[in-house]
């Protein structure tokens, strides 16, 4: 079943000054449960693609359909609420609210969703356990390492029970051990919860973990490969 489908997606920045064609007719379909890496050199359009799929930015033309909803047609609070209930986000940095603890950061999206207290608490414990941070629940982001912060961000992305998680270069600021560790956790959640992940990266070791690798170049899909020998070590 298709979770995401982009049709002829194009994005031109600064159309009236010096136009930048960040995306040129991208057609991409993502099935439920996929673990997809978007790769490509810097400036190839990875961030732009993820932002548009996530409803954070508008395409210049083309469409994005998420489980039957054409999200470019949503506006204002409808769009914000759509993101809240359907999409999990992990950014490269500054993911977490600095004044909230790890536990509170994960709980935050569920509070926005107005889920009952019991459910929230159970899910926070389960998710922090899943990302291996049961002992850091009451730490603020500034008291956590970069890798730990990204793991909290992954836990938060899943807390809202989204249809998929978008992660734009989630390992870019991490050392290689933390990066592999984060990928292991994402892969585990992908397999155990059948959560769909789409992440961008240009780290070869991260790319190796992906099931499907979509390569962008100059805003076009250059290659789209399904890898068989994915190494999983947990």
């Amino acid at each position: 079943m298709k979770v995401i489908e982009t049709r002829n997606l194009s994005k031109i920045y600064n159309p009236d000054k010096v136009p930048v064609h960040a995306l040129n007719g991208v057609n991409l379909a993502i099935e439920r449960g996929e673990f997809t890496a978007i790769v490509g050199p810097s400036g190839s359009g990875k961030t732009t693609l993820l932002n548009i799929i996530g409803g954070l930015d508008n395409p210049t033309s083309g469409s994005v359909v998420v489980e039957g909803t054409e999200i470019a047609k949503l506006e204002g609070n409808a769009l914000i609420n759509f993101r809240l209930h359907n999409i999990g986000f992990v950014f490269q940095a500054y993911n977490l609210i600095p004044v909230l603890t790890a536990k509170e950061n994960v709980e935050f999206v569920m509070l926005l969703q107005t889920r009952p207290k019991g459910e929230r608490e159970a899910r926070v414990i389960a998710l922090l356990e899943a990302v291996g941070l049961s002992d850091k629940t009451d730490k603020r982001p500034s008291e956590l390492s970069g890798g730990q912060q990204q793991r909290v961000a992954v836990a938060r992305a899943l807390a809202s029970k989204p249809k998929f998680v978008l992660a734009d270069e989630p390992t870019a600021n991490l050392d290689s051990i933390s990066a592999e560790n984060l990928l292991d956790i994402m892969l585990k959640l992908n397999q155990e919860e059948n959560m769909t992940f789409i992440f961008s990266t240009h780290d070869a070791r991260v790319i190796r973990r992906a099931r499907r690798v979509v390569t962008l170049e100059d805003g076009r899909i250059k290659k789209d490969l399904v890898q068989n020998e994915v190494s999983i070590n947990f």
Partner: protein, 403 residues
């Protein structure tokens, strides 16, 4: 949730929170002290000026102010006198009969204003005795007169000399009399000093053949703030044809210069508010801009802008409430202290004030409604300034356009 976030955000940069609260607090204190002081000066000047002569209001015949003739005199009504004696706000009242006459000594003559007064009341209420320059005040000798210093110089006479006056009395009776000058007086206003002749009320009534009649009953109050209420109460018992004339009508020049002080007070306060606004605004700009990244993440993960706005508003309004409340509390001791130990002008400044007949001691006015007003104004300013941050949030986009 929003409350918790706002609370934590306030603790996030303690020093800035502290500085902001402190600056709001000092602003409130400063505004309150400033206002209390300037209002105090205003009141002091008012009370001094009206205390010298006019009173806070006068009971007069309704046409007297337009036509100061002896036709417009009246017999002091007992009801009014009775009420004035009992009202605690009334410091005192007196009676006067004034009209014009010609005064001459040897071969010099001049038109004068003859004012019949009650010596003991005037001494007690207006301190008239202290203004006597040479000779002495009234000591109960019939036929005594005290004349303005300038008039004495013009007529070239001094205490001990004789003054002859002629004029027209009540109902056209002719008035004439010979008086013994017991003193000269300096009222401060050249106009008065050049023209004034004080007699006792009884002598003046006899001179003008206006037996038992007066032109005015000046009423002196404890302070000016209660002028309207007391005047109204007195008006209630006055017989037809008598009115209470407020000092503002009788001394238009003084009213104007007091208005000037009031305008100054408002300008100073406005400048102060402007200064505070900049300080609060600076904090808000910093707070909003350094958190733009965070706001974007919040927006991305699904926090509605109205909730973010509520959070920011709660933060800035809490700062303002805290600052304003502390300012309110801190103002009280400062203003009370300056009320009990007033700012006192010394040296030339003091002489300046005194030459206008104003006591150079400037107590503040302790007025809680004033405190509340300034605290509220600063609160409102802070809330209005948060519009900046709110607008930032309103226009927030997760992916900003690159310049």
């Amino acid at each position: 949730m929003i409350g918790l976030l706002a609370w934590r955000n306030l603790w996030r940069n303690r020093r800035r929170t502290f500085i902001t609260v402190a600056s709001i607090m000092f602003a409130v204190v400063f505004a309150n002290v400033m206002d209390a002081l300037l209002s105090g000066i205003n009141q002091q000047m008012t009370d001094s000026m009206v205390g010298i002569y006019s009173g806070h209001f006068q009971v007069q015949q309704q046409d007297f102010w337009e036509d100061k003739s002896l036709h417009n005199t009246f017999i002091p009504p007992k009801e009014a006198a009775g009420l004035l004696d009992t009202l605690p706000e009334v410091k005192g009242y007196t009676k006067r009969l004034e009209s014009v006459a010609l005064a001459s000594a040897e071969n010099l003559t001049r038109g004068v204003l003859v004012v019949g007064i009650e010596p003991d009341n005037e001494k007690r209420i207006t301190g008239l005795e202290e203004k006597v320059q040479a000779g002495s005040y009234f000591h109960g000798n019939p036929g005594d007169a005290i004349i303005g210093k300038g008039l004495a110089e013009y007529l070239d006479i001094q205490p001990g000399d004789t003054l002859v006056m002629i004029g027209e009395g009540y109902h056209g009776a002719s008035a004439a009399g010979k008086y013994h000058i017991c003193g000269t007086i300096r009222m401060g206003s050249p106009d008065l000093d050049n023209n004034l002749v004080f007699l006792t009320l009884a002598d003046a009534q006899f001179f003008f053949a206006a037996y038992g009649r007066v032109t005015s009953m000046p009423v002196f109050l404890k302070d000016n703030t209660i002028q309207k209420e007391v005047a109204q109460e007195i008006s209630g018992v006055l017989p037809e044809g008598l009115i209470t004339q407020p000092w503002q009508k009788m001394m238009p020049m003084a009213t104007q210069s007091l208005g000037l002080i009031d305008a100054m007070r408002i300008i100073v306060l406005a400048l102060l508010y402007l200064l505070i606004s900049f300080s609060i605004f600076g904090t808000l700009i910093m707070m909003a801009n350094e958190r733009l990244l965070e706001f974007r993440v919040l927006l991305a993960i699904g926090m509605q802008k109205t909730k973010m706005g509520a959070m920011v508003l709660l933060e800035s309004v809490s700062l303002a409430i805290l600052g304003a409340a502390l300012g309110f509390l801190a103002s009280y001791p400062v203003v009370t202290y300056l009320n009990e130990y007033p700012i006192t002008f010394k040296g030339r400044a003091a002489q300046g004030w005194e030459s206008f007949g104003i006591d150079p001691v400037m107590p503040t006015i302790v007025d809680f409604s004033m405190f509340a007003m300034h605290s509220a104004v600063i609160l409102v300013i802070s809330a209005l300034l948060s519009v900046y941050a709110l607008n930032k949030i309103r226009n927030l986009e997760v992916v900003p356009a690159k310049k």
